[in-house]
Amino acid sequence: MSLFDMFKKKSSGDVAKDRLKLLLVSDRANCSPDIMEAIKNDIIAVISKYMEIDASGLDIQITQTESDGGNGSVPALYANIPIKDMKNGQKPNH
């Protein structure tokens, strides 16, 4: 590895660690990509009843987060849902 590369790239050891951390979160949660996709679609369906969202910009993932109980980190579902427009009245239109 040249000096130039060192500033440019992460070391492969760090890459491995980051990849593993992400991989293990979903391994431990026992959540397949199919299930994640289903959750995502359901979230879109529910939120769309109340407001207009940017479905293409929606991002959900399972991450580790510190638990409030103080017993270490626990998996958490993180969702970033960009809102385009709040619907009038903010009530479901049945």
């Binding site: 590895m1 070391s11 492969s12 050891g13 760090d14 491995a16 660690k17 593993l20």
Partner: protein
């Protein structure tokens, strides 16, 4: 009081059998009465690593099926007065044994031995279930590679689900030269990811290959790996031994090697 330790990893080829051989031999050197059990039915390698392959008469399946008494199947290692091996069967498969049968056999062996070391097969199927059935604690072996660590994580989850009281981690085949360059995860990285207690780290030492060639475990000799394994054995006995500095000495040896190879 006897203790039953299963050596497991999930992934194959990370050093379960080498670890079993060295931990078993090391504990025997520390004056404990030890039996090593090869639970990898169909692929028996512990006997070869121990250099006892020519003395196998009866095996684990013979004992389980009642073809012989367990004392007839045990091979006494002549180099150490307290060390015995119960070899696995070569011509059978893992369905020949059930977890209940393993448990019953281990309870019988507890009467006679201080430590019972079980060399677990790779994978998470029947062979794994047999190996962990009678165990009190586990040594989880991994190398600093993504696939091995991922499998170790899975194994740790399964051990917890099976109510094993204690699991300790061994990081095997660590190369400090690569860690320094950032091209290998460090011991701390691995411990951080798996978050279980570290009981030892073993360097990637060519002496391991040599010792396997000769069928003589290197635990306790003056190689870096030999010392690392002996430290693990002492920690199993509850001694508080600081981690071996793998970098300093390997640097020294590398320098020494460099002096000789440059001539």
């Amino acid at each position: 009081m006897s203790e039953v330790i299963v050596v497991t990893s999930g992934k194959g080829g990370v050093g379960k059998t080498t670890t079993s051989a060295n931990v078993g031999t090391g504990l025997a050197k520390l004056n404990k009465k030890v039996v090593l059990i090869d639970t990898d039915i169909g692929l028996r390698n512990l006997g070869v690593v121990m250099g006892l392959e020519n003395r196998i008469v009866y095996n684990l399946v013979d004992v389980i099926e009642g073809n012989c008494r367990y004392k007839q199947a045990l091979i006494k290692d002549k180099r150490y007065p307290n060390l015995y091996l119960l070899p696995s069967a070569q011509t059978r498969d893992k369905t020949s044994v059930s977890p209940e049968q393993m448990k019953a056999l281990i309870d019988e062996l507890r009467q006679e031995f201080d430590y019972i070391i079980l060399d677990c097969p790779a994978g998470i199927e029947q062979g794994f279930k047999n190996a962990i059935a009678g165990a009190d604690r586990a040594l989880v072996v991994t190398t600093p590679e993504v696939s091995a660590i991922r499998d170790a994580d899975r194994i740790i989850g399964l051990l917890e689900a099976n109510d094993l009281k204690r699991s300790d981690l061994i990081v095997n085949r660590i190369r400090m030269d690569m860690v320094k360059k950032g091209d290998m995860m460090s011991i701390d990285d691995v411990v951080d990811i798996l978050s279980i207690n570290l009981i030892g780290a073993v360097p990637d030492d060519e002496n391991i290959v040599i010792s396997t060639n000769n069928g003589e475990p290197l635990v306790g000799n003056d190689t870096l790996a030999g010392q690392a394994y002996m430290n693990i054995c002492k920690r199993i006995l509850g001694e508080d031994i600081p981690l071996l500095d793998l970098s300093e000495k390997s640097g020294f040896w590398n320098k020494l090697k460099a002096i000789f190879s440059s001539k």
